[in-house]
Symmetry: C2
DNA sequence: TTCATTTCTTAACTTAAGTGAACGATTTTA
DNA sequence: TAAAATCGTTCACTTAAGTTAAGAAATGAA
């Protein structure tokens, strides 16, 4: 399981055995059962997550309704906004499936960054990449209809449609669960012609 | 005008005179007339932008139609995805107004980063902040209606509504220009009651 | 297993966005 | 300056998403 983490890191920097051991000594690995809440709205957590196995999501509660806005699966990293901007979290984070995560707090990161400067660089490159990717995803969302977004998701993350409840997918697509049901029926109808 | 750049940088790191001079010697400043295209779809540019004065936008051309997805105004930084992922640009960048920009290519950044390590850190912190902000903006977009988005924009960036053409604003809000006109009329109607 | 809860789908109705067209008003450019 | 192009708004019509409600299916807990 550790190897998954080091495989990921090796895409950005190459680590010596010493460096790997320094990371392992931090004891980052943590299993989390389906339904576990990792972060609640209003909290000022310092923890960042990396998904080794499973699936976690961020969601808002607006007018008593859950709105899921992101899913993180294998090899995805999530640093909540509250870690960055030091304001109470606007959203919840919870486990969609039984998962294995690494959890690191920002103190650890400061320590590792100062001990191994190559980490600073890795974090910079990683967040630049994630930002560019997030912008493209946002652009695609803005420029397409719910139906196009669904078909797009079917192409890009077909696993999500299998492993995630429909009502969570719906808000992820920016629509209501009923509209997602209808939209899927419409697509099936078309493909039958 | 330079001071605006240094004011911005000082939010992240403090620079010595030497460091400031090293930056000035790069000759980054560039005025750009309204309508100037800074980047075309398909290009593999290395240039990043920082807006000192004016406004620039990114837009796609889909089915012959322009879809504006982002505006960058005073003190905003823009690194196009092609600089990060080394793939041909998916979008255009052009000036909405006469503007004064700094333009830096990634070679310069590599050079500055190795000469002054504190730059590495600034870039990491900046892109982490921008990522967190982008995610929140995306979340707000997903969880609200076109009308709510417009009202939200009116709160957060009232200047944009004045300085930017309506049809560009419309795609920024994820709708057609006619719908934006109608939506504004609807809001005005309500406020008259 | 059974009961309760949650989830998904369907349907009828409402509301708002998309579409195509028309019209001045403004801006561009020849 | 005159003609052409662009821009913003309005309208009528179409399409699709939101809303409310109901019922079937799946899931979870006692």
């Amino acid at each position: 399981m550790q190897n998954l983490l080091f495989d990921f890191i090796s895409k950005y920097v190459s680590l010596t055995e010493d460096e790997k051991n320094a990371i392992l000594s931090l004891n980052l690995f943590r299993p989390a059962k389906k339904g576990t809440t990792l972060l609640k709205k209003g909290q000022l957590s310092q923890d960042s997550y990396f998904v080794l196995k499973g699936c976690i999501r961020t969601y808002y509660v607006l007018d008593g309704e859950e709105k899921t806005t992101a899913f993180y699966t294998e090899m995805d990293a999530l640093t909540p906004h509250c870690v960055i901007d030091k304001t109470p979290s606007k959203y919840f984070i919870s486990c969609v499936e039984d998962s294995i995560l690494t959890v690191s707090n920002s103190d650890m990161e400061v320590e590792i960054n100062s001990k191994f400067p190559k980490f600073e660089k890795m974090c910079r490159v990683l967040s630049e990449e994630l930002l560019a990717k997030e912008q493209i995803d946002f652009d695609e969302f803005k420029t397409s209809s719910p139906e196009q977004r669904y078909l797009n998701l079917l192409q890009k993350r077909p696993d999500l449609i299998q492993r995630v409840p429909q009502h969570q997918l719906a808000s992820y697509l920016g629509i209501k669960p009923q509209s997602l049901s209808r939209l899927r029926a419409r697509i099936l109808e078309k493909s039958r012609e």
